[in-house]
Amino acid sequence: MSENVGRIVGINGNLITVRFDNPVTQSEVGYARTGDVALKSEVIRIRGDNAELQVFEDTSGLKVGDPVEFSGNLLAVELGPGLLAQVYDGLQNPLPKLAEQCGFFLQRGTYLKALDREKKWAYTPKARKGDEVTAGDTLGTVPEGIFEHRIMVPFRLRGKYKVEETLAAGSYNVDQVVAKLRGERGDEIAVAMVQEWPVKVPIKAYAERLRPVEPLVTKVRIIDTFFPVARGGVYCIPGPFGAGKTVLQQITSKHADVDIVLVAACGERAGEVVETLREFPELTDPRTGKSLMERTLIICNTSSMPVAAREASVYTAVTICEYYRQMGLNVMLLADSTSRWAQALREMSGRLEEIPGEEAFPAYLESVIAAFYERGGVVKLKDGTTGSVTIGGTVSPAGGNFDEPVTQATLKVVGAFHGLNRERSDARRYPAIHPLDSWSKYPGVVDGQQVAQARKTLRQGNEVSQMMKVVGEEGTSIEDFVVYLKSEFLDATYLQQNSFHDVDAATGADRQKYVFAKIHGILTAKVFFPDKDAARKWFLQLTSVTKDWNLVPMDAAEFKQLEQRIDAMLAEVSEHA
């Protein structure tokens, strides 16, 4: 291995200061040795002949004078077939394998290969001898679950290469060399199925970046209809604790209309990942009929796992997303929570004694957040197909106050904002996305005019309800009161959605269009009541029937029956021309 060895001169939490003699590279990986374990670390600052490294593990037992081996490599991940359905920690250690080896507890200094070395893949060559290729071009494919996994020219290669040798179709493991390439300068490259890529550098082996305009259907009504997400778009979900960020991401990870979902559990509860980990293999993906796990990958660096690895975990996650995007797939990254990652930055910044910004976050927080979200996007690949990485990040603001550095920095760079609201979650109005404060710059699936009309009803309903607090119900006209009831009706039957009900949990685009048209009809209908109590009673009943309607499958007979009841109810109170 590397000959470059330094010596520890200081230890402060997970920050070690190391004296070195030979050149050291910023962001390179080092291993701090204590006894027979070597603890993975990353250089984060160099001053004179001292390098400061963040250690991705507990540093107890380390001593001044202990050796640190510098590897010369940046922190990288393995990319190749077999990533899907895996559960990795923030450094891409496969957790189930680790459990087989170490038992109940994580053992520091144990690093396993991310990809299975035994497993054989059925390889089909695509490139031919003599072909001219560049980084990212497909050399061959292997089937990985439901996908055709492309084995590509390593992304690190610059310039043109000629294919000199190709491997015949057959069954091979990931270390197998599948092609030999010769560069313009005569350099020869052997390409294996697996390649490595440094996590903090975006993969750019594509033709061009496109604007995200195609809706990504999450099957959450308030999102798809009111605050849509686009394929290749980036959005955030800030909210106080308990407002429903994680549930919203879990439901999205199950139902979102994308090829691959990458769940990055970043500094939050282990128990929440366990739900995904244990349930997904049992659930069927309606799109493919296969297990939901086949399209899912979990990066799990939960709150009690080492903090520096938490910082790395979001990069590990987004790099794997970019890799599958290079295969022309639509990938979604759900990161919960980006605030924990920002806090990891803050912890290190504090140990480095950098000048603190607001709430002690480092001054570079904004640019780091912006650079991360920039890794989302739709790209046109060199073969003309497109792929996308959509990023949805939760934000956990201190005290639930959005006026804090992480939320504010995130809002500047995202295309949609789903603000979760404490009042709504307290009133069990789930998903507690605030219908007036949230926004999206992406196009949705439902008729824009109808949505604009509904927004108007919500706004007016809110005004009436504010006014009623001042003048009381008696001081409110029946017309205004009906507007208020209409907005409450829209809220109860469309904005709110039961995430734990088989049918209601996921509303497809077609159903959203259909149901929303009906609701729009009700919102715009001229309805008449003798008094407010009669109006309230009628709306309560209509709400109850419409909620029942949400619970039956669209192809069930009951769906039509309930719809007819709604129509009949509406006819009773409508003005006839």
Binding site: K63, L95, P96, L98, A99, G242, G267, A270, G271, A398
Partner: protein, 433 residues
């Protein structure tokens, strides 16, 4: 052959500095001062400068005091003999029993591999409707009681502990008033639970550093019992004292505070403890019930705020009642779908109606005329508070659900509740005379 160091260069807060070589990060040392001998732990190394946090505090330590490094980390004896005993935050006996020294285990060990956890699935019944119906407690859950000073949180903690079916109770007391500690001990004893309990107690009069150790020592022992297939309940009160102890050391070490003086790693520190709650695949479990007092009754204070982001919900204790708003059990949906078919709908509907009641109260207080609907809500809200929320109510879940239907039926028409007709047809009580 542990070398003894005699020159203490710096004493600040509870941290002392000596020059020494070959010392490991996190290692323990013995420090002899004029007031006696204390353990200390290495918290930072800078060339040959060693920073130690002294458990008993730095008072009485002189510049020529003795420091002897022990070559190992903080540990605790793990044996059945712990049961029924009381210790302090350093693991020394507080009762008159013997010191225990066999089978030392390290504290503050690594976290559980998430792949070895299972989804919690056993409800812990408490007989308290605000918990059983609205926010079911689940084995292996980590859940604090949020309360202002003066609320009966320790009583509630003890009541749940005694009602829960667990094998072992571990009480970690931090900054406890001595009376409260005695009260806990006596309650456990009176209910015949002391023999399956272990107490690690730091009282307000004890050194702050020991306060910091209480969760780790309690949870390390809990973990060992859980690995032996035991269902362990850990009570931690008051975690705000723990956080304050962290704050104190951070300030001594001149760390830049993130929020109201608390260090930037408060979240990670709290999480490292709470995340020890676990349901092991193929072994026992650890459930953590904690108390987080809220300075100024402010839930956005950094301690409750960070806690809420870590724990699996919280019980919000206010005016002697568990508030439905603000209280949450994040694991309730793991169990409340399997209790009774109407559990979830009763839970959701009653809370929504209670929220409407609160709005009506507001309107009433502003002197507005009450509509027929408002009057129904007023009737409902009063009954809900008296028959469901009051902490003296002690009934099984099923009886509480029946009671819920009865209260709703006495106040509303079925359709007014928004409950689907399928369920009202089945559960709506027939008109009572």
């Amino acid at each position: 052959m542990h070398k003894v160091y005699h020159r203490i260069e710096q004493i600040a807060g509870n941290v002392i500095t000596v020059r020494a070589e070959g010392v490991a990060n996190g290692e323990l040392a013995q420090v002899v001062g004029t007031l006696g001998t204390s353990l200390a732990q290495v918290i930072r190394l800078e060339r040959d400068k060693v920073f130690l946090q002294v458990f008993a505090g730095s008072r009485g330590i002189s510049t020529d005091g003795q420091v002897r490094f022990l070559g190992h980390k903080m540990d605790v004896s793990f044996t059945e003999a712990l049961l029924g005993r009381v210790f302090n935050g350093s693991g020394q006996p507080r009762d008159n029993g013997p010191e225990l020294d066999e089978n030392r285990i390290a504290i503050g060990g690594p976290s559980v591999n998430p792949a070895k956890r299972i989804i919690p699935r056993k409800m812990v019944r408490t007989g308290i409707p605000m918990i059983d119906v609205f926010n079911s407690l689940v084995e292996s859950q980590k859940l604090p009681i949020f309360a202002a000073a003066g609320e009966p949180y320790n009583e509630l903690l003890a009541r749940i502990a005694l009602q829960a079916e667990v094998d072992i109770i571990i009480l970690g007391g931090m900054g406890l008033k001595h009376d409260d500690y005695l009260q806990f001990r006596d309650t456990l004893e009176a209910n015949g639970a002391l023999s399956r309990s272990i107490l690690f107690i730091h009282t307000a009069a004890d050194p702050t550093v020991e306060c910091q150790m209480v969760p780790d020592i309690s949870l390390a022992v809990a973990e060992q019992f859980a690995l032996q297939n035991k269902r362990v309940l850990v009570l931690l009160t008051d975690m705000t004292s723990f956080a304050d102890a962290l704050k104190e050391i951070a300030i001594t070490m001149e760390q830049i505070p993130a929020n109201r003086g608390y260090p930037g790693d408060l979240y990670s520190q709290l999480a490292a403890r709470y995340e020890k709650a676990v349901d092991f695949e193929g072994a026992g479990s650890i459930t953590i019930l904690a108390v987080t007092t809220m300075p100024g009754d402010d839930v956005t204070h950094p301690v409750p705020d960070n806690t809420g982001y870590i724990t699996e919900g919280q019980f919000y204790l206010r005016n002697g009642r568990i508030e439905p708003f603000g209280s949450l059990s994040r694991l309730k949906q793991q169990v409340n779908g399997k209790t009774r078919e109407d559990h979830r709908v009763v839970m959701n509907t009653m809370i929504q109606l209670y929220a409407s009641y609160k709005e009506t109260l507001e309107k009433q207080s502003m002197g507005f005329r009450m509509s027929a609907w408002d009057n129904k809500l007023l009737k409902y809200g009063e009954r809900f508070e008296k028959e469901m929320m009051d902490l003296s109510v002690n009934i099984p879940l099923e009886a509480a659900l029946d009671l819920g239907w009865q209260i709703m039926a006495d106040c509303f028409e079925p359709a007014e509740t928004g409950i689907s007709s399928k369920l009202t047809e089945k559960f709506w009580p027939q008109a009572t005379a």
